[in-house]
């Protein structure tokens, strides 16, 4: 697999030189591969948001490098700006960044900054709105008369409309109801499929991660202790517990079983996998 974004010994110190100095990232090597669906998980304050803001050049590394397609994004001003269009970032609670009179204008803010022509902007706005499930008539409304969940969709559409090849989302489902969570995750999945885009999604929820992503990167205390497929990561059950992260309920059950002396693979995380593992254990054929 070909890396699309990499960080090399990336460190970031907030308020350097004051009594509030705080190392939010220390010598972090992070890689995202082209076309993958990557999850970043970590305890509150572990440095997830800080990490992703480096990936599109919003934060400048205190030391270390950020590479996009193999080249340093801080090489020149132009390159940093171009990277921002290539690597789309949706912030935590993005609904608070809306400012235009109409939803349409707000979504078109990004594409317009890219200097596209009106026809292309129009196409992108309508397509982005479709991706996040906004109706045609909503486009002419004021973003401030929408519900919280709809505002969030508008904000996500505002980034999708730039058609980034990497889409990063910081806790896009925080504070939504279960139906809203499912539908936003579905929208992101659609974008991933349709544009062959790389998706990086930050979340607190192991269960949500386990269901959606190809690979998980764990951030803890300004470092990345391990990463891998959900199965590989959940095999570190005890360490995850210690970081206050916990594992999916199913994994926990299997870790317990293992602890009780049952010879069973503890890295399962879905009901389906659990069923197969138990059946295999009981010596029955998998139906």
């Amino acid at each position: 697999m070909e890396p699309i974004i990499e960080t090399r010994r990336l460190s970031h110190i907030y308020s350097a030189g004051t009594p509030f100095e705080h190392g939010a990232l220390v010598d972090v090597d992070f890689t995202a591969y082209r076309g993958e669906y990557l999850g970043i998980i970590g305890h509150t304050g572990s440095g997830k948001s800080t990490l992703i803001q480096h990936l599109n050049g919003l934060l400048k590394p205190t030391s270390g490098q950020v590479l996009f397609e193999g080249k340093d994004i801080w090489e020149s001003k132009e390159r940093t700006r171009q990277t921002r269009f290539q690597v789309g970032l949706v912030f935590q609670y993005p609904e608070y960044q809306l400012f235009e009179e109409t939803v349409y204008k707000d979504i078109s803010f990004g594409p317009r900054n890219m200097g596209l022509d009106e026809g292309e902007i129009d196409r992108r706005v309508r397509q982005a709105a479709q991706f996040v499930g906004l109706k045609e008539e909503t486009l002419e409304k004021s973003p401030f008369e929408l519900s919280g969940g709809q505002k969030r969709r508008v904000a996500i559409a505002g980034v999708i409309a730039m058609e980034p090849s990497v889409l990063i989302l910081d806790e896009p489902t925080a504070g939504l109801d279960p139906v809203g969570v499912e539908s936003i995750l579905g929208n992101i999945h659609d974008y991933h499929q349709a544009k062959n885009a790389t998706i990086i999604i930050v979340s607190h929820s192991m269960e949500e991660m386990a269901r959606t992503v190809d690979r998980i990167v764990v951030v803890n205390d300004a470092k990345i202790p391990f990463s891998g497929t959900p199965r590989e990561v959940f095999a570190h059950g005890d360490e995850l517990e210690k970081m206050g992260l916990g594992v999916p309920a199913m994994t926990r059950v299997f870790h317990r079983l293992k602890g009780m002396g049952v010879d069973i693979d503890p890295s399962v995380y879905t009901i389906q996998q659990a069923r197969d593992a138990i059946l295999a254990k009981l010596g029955k054929a998998v139906v």
């Binding site: 004051t18 269009f85 960044q97």
Partner: protein, 270 residues
């Protein structure tokens, strides 16, 4: 420079004797120091003021670096004041140098140095106050000090409540500004380049969300205060009672002594 780096009026928590002084004493002490600064005349008095300030900084354990950083935004004013003094102080005798329309006399050099030093010390001592006193303590103390004004119907409690709320929300608003700015930059907003009109226009995507969030916060705060039965200053007791301790009284006496000593010395031209 990130907005966060602005240290003007920031509080550095600590436990030194200066941190623990009664905030009223600190305010009065600061005023006393400023008065003394204007009574200072010449080398001896300036030296005393400088030593006092250095001692206070050392005791408070505030890094010289933090003070210098706080000084940055006003550096230009200090420099201009210095230059004006340098060029416009008339002197007797030979000018030091003279070129084009400028002439510099030895007196000018002295005046400039004295003025720059005076401003720097004045700013540093107010920094010392805000660095070692939390905004809550400051407004508490101000309310108590202004209490006598209630007699002439100044709404002291309301004023100080407004002030503490404003102080409380400055860091929040700065953080919010930072966040919205980043979010719009991620959508390609450019806050740095272009002419004045373009720059002003670029602020719209920042200011609209900022105002909306400020109004939302104000609303939420008002509701929260009403839910806790806030009804103004009438009959309100305080959680922290301010009481003068031995060290506070000693500090007050020292402040007065400083004023008197500098006043007397200054009068005799030291």
């Amino acid at each position: 420079m990130a907005l966060k780096d602005i240290t003007l009026g920031q509080y550095f928590p600590g436990t030194t004797i200066i941190h623990r002084l009664d905030p009223r004493v600190k305010i009065i002490g600061t005023i006393a120091y400023i008065v003394a600064l204007f009574l200072a005349k010449w080398l001896v008095t300036y030296a005393i003021m400088l030593v006092v300030l250095a001692a206070l900084i050392a005791i408070s354990k505030i890094g010289v670096k933090s003070i210098l950083r706080g000084m940055k935004p006003i550096l230009i004013i200090v420099i201009i004041t210095g230059l004006l003094n340098l060029f416009y102080t008339p002197g007797q005798g030979e000018p030091l140098v003279s070129f084009w329309v400028f002439t510099i006399y030895p007196e000018g050099v002295w005046a400039a140095c004295a003025m720059v030093l005076r401003i720097a010390m004045l700013i540093t001592c107010t920094f010392l106050l805000t660095y070692t006193t939390s905004p809550i303590q400051l407004t508490d103390a101000l309310e108590r000090l202004m209490n006598p004004l209630k007699v002439i119907k100044v709404p002291v409690h309301e004023l100080s409540m407004m002030m503490s709320i404003a102080l409380r929300f400055i860091p929040t608003l700065i953080e919010e500004t930072d966040k919205i700015m980043s979010a719009q930059k991620a959508r390609g907003a450019d806050f740095d380049s272009g002419n004045l009109i373009q720059k002003a226009k670029a602020l719209v995507p920042l200011l609209v969300p900022l105002f909306i969030s400020a109004f939302r916060r104000a609303d939420e705060l008002a509701v929260a205060m009403e839910c806790r039965c806030y009804h103004g200053g009438e009959g309100r007791t305080r959680m922290r009672q301010l009481k003068l301790k031995g060290t506070d009284i000693a500090a007050l006496i020292l402040a007065v002594v400083l004023c008197v000593v500098i006043g007397v010395l200054g009068r005799y031209g030291f």
